[in-house]
């Protein structure tokens, strides 16, 4: 019996410890590759896999890179308008998907029983939605938001399309975490005479904030990482948008353009990728902090 236990333990420990080594190793390889090539774009005269032309020179230029507009089809200049567009697209996406997502998740976990037919239909529908390829979303978004609803190529269309993509992740992880809140909590709230509204907002949601944060981060990650869906909806224009109905290029589209379409764009593609990764770190931290601050604060630890 002891030998069995040892076997399990050793196997599990080996597996559990070697996995992060493998995963972190691979990911750090990618990060370091992007970081080096991206950083070299800011160092004058450095040879780079893509060549010797230096359109960005000097570390001081990082600020200029972040605050000026692209020149020469993106091979020179900066990415300021693109950052603005990306921010707006992300905002629209979150603004549309968060309320609907949380509400739908609440519906699935609180209002209907698990085997209720409508609940199962919605869940299946969302799982299918999670598997729709991004390019199909792009074509669908183009047909629905750009043409049928008349938004044309716009940030609004892009954000709404992304919201559709993000919903399944958000809803599923929120639902799972709502389900994990013990039923005793709800019973206690009912015993205290809480209304449904209060139970949900004061008891269930704060306790599930961890799962909501996960869904949010996965959603933001997916939204920022999207390329194919946005090419057909929010478009290609690299000018600073003046309204939500303007077309605006997102950062990942810019990276794709520069690396795959514009000769000599490799440098700035990697620099933009570096900026994106830094942005991701900041946004993830922000999302964690926000959920912790606003949701978890409702619970007083005993």
């Amino acid at each position: 019996m002891t030998r069995h236990k040892l076997g399990w333990n050793v196997l599990m420990a080996v597996g559990a410890w070697s996995t992060p080594v493998i995963v972190a190793g691979l990911f750090l390889w990618l990060l370091v590759d992007v970081a080096i090539r991206g950083w070299l774009a800011f160092v004058p005269g450095s040879p780079d896999a893509s060549g010797t032309g230096t359109w960005l020179q000097g570390p001081g230029q990082i600020v200029q890179f972040l605050t000026s507009a692209p020149l020469r089809a993106g091979r020179a200049g900066g990415i300021a308008p693109i950052l603005v567009s990306t921010g707006l697209i992300l905002s629209v996406c979150l603004a549309a998907s968060f309320p609907i997502g949380i509400a739908a998740a609440l519906f699935l976990s609180e209002v209907v029983s698990e085997h209720h037919r409508f609940g199962r239909f919605v869940r299946c529908s969302l799982d299918v939605l999670a598997g729709v390829p991004s390019i199909v979303f792009g074509l669908f978004g183009n047909a629905l938001f750009c043409r049928l609803l008349g938004f044309r190529f716009s940030i609004l269309a892009g954000g709404l399309t992304l919201a559709c993509m993000v919903l399944p992740l958000l809803i599923r992880s929120a639902e799972e975490s709502f389900r994990a809140v013990p039923i005793s909590q709800r019973q206690a709230a009912a015993a205290l005479g809480f209304s449904r509204c209060s139970t949900l907002f004061r008891v269930v949601i704060p306790q599930a904030s961890g799962g909501i944060a996960v869904g949010l981060i996965l959603g933001i990650g997916r939204a920022l990482a999207e390329t194919a869906a946005l090419i057909f909806t929010s478009g290609y224009v690299d000018r600073t948008p003046t309204s939500l109905f303007d077309s605006g290029r997102s950062l990942s589209i810019h990276i794709y353009e520069l690396s795959m379409n514009v000769p000599g764009g490799n440098r700035n593609a990697y620099a933009s990728a570096l900026v994106l990764i830094v942005l991701l770190v900041i946004i993830n931290a922000l999302a964690q902090w926000l959920t912790a601050r606003f949701l978890q604060r409702q619970i007083l630890p005993i």
Partner: protein, 282 residues
Amino acid sequence: MTRRNCTPFGWILLIWLLAVVGCGSSESASKSDSVAPQRITITGASTLAPLVGEIGKRFEAGHPGLRVDVQSGGSSRGVSDSRNGLAEIGMVSRDLKPDESDLQRFLIARDGVCLIVHEKNPVRSLTREQIIGIYRGQIRNWKDVGGEDSAITVVNKAEGRSTLEVFAAYFDLNTREIQADVVIGDNEQGVKTVVGNPLAIGYVSIGTAEFNREEGAPIRLLPLEGVEATVKNVRNGTFPLSRKLHLVTKLPPEGIVREFLEFATSPQVHDLVKELSFVPIE
């Protein structure tokens, strides 16, 4: 006991939502672009999008209040969008098909197509028969054409691309006959494939290849029919393989659209064309 208890979080969310939408409702969707457009929308081939984008920016500088919006999506989208009015102008990186002859076309640049191999590959030129043999899969080893003893990795372009059609037409190849080991989409992907595989051979735009080679990419452009593959040779007409890049409109253009098209086909943009490695029309 039945007090309303919506969290502050919910209110903050609502205000944010209103702010974002509110800042967006200043300019309504511009459907009324008919008489004096403040915006010209151009969609079509991704190959042309960077060039037309730059031309558009230069045109905007001379016409304050005007916006030239360039969108990507492919030559077919350029044709269909200009036909159904979603765009004023379409970008098409190929010759127009017979069923597209109702459109007005304007040539803005030419683009040569050449074969590239890795620098380490000792092969310096290939005859027409050799190229056809390689792409048909009849010649499989580099040693049969003067190289080392290794299998050839044939790189082809995806169906529907104009570079493929131009290439296949020139060599009298049926697209079905081509036996490829790798199929690529854009020119840059082709260059990166050849850079990463010393045994690869592919065909890409001359401008892209030349640019990358000058940047230090380890590729070699193969001459065709004895003519060196350079942008200069495409320009003076000696290089035999090239494709035409067009802007199209549904009806004969008027007003600001016509001004733009005249600008785009004028010598004023030749420097932009050259900078993006295309060949300006004379």
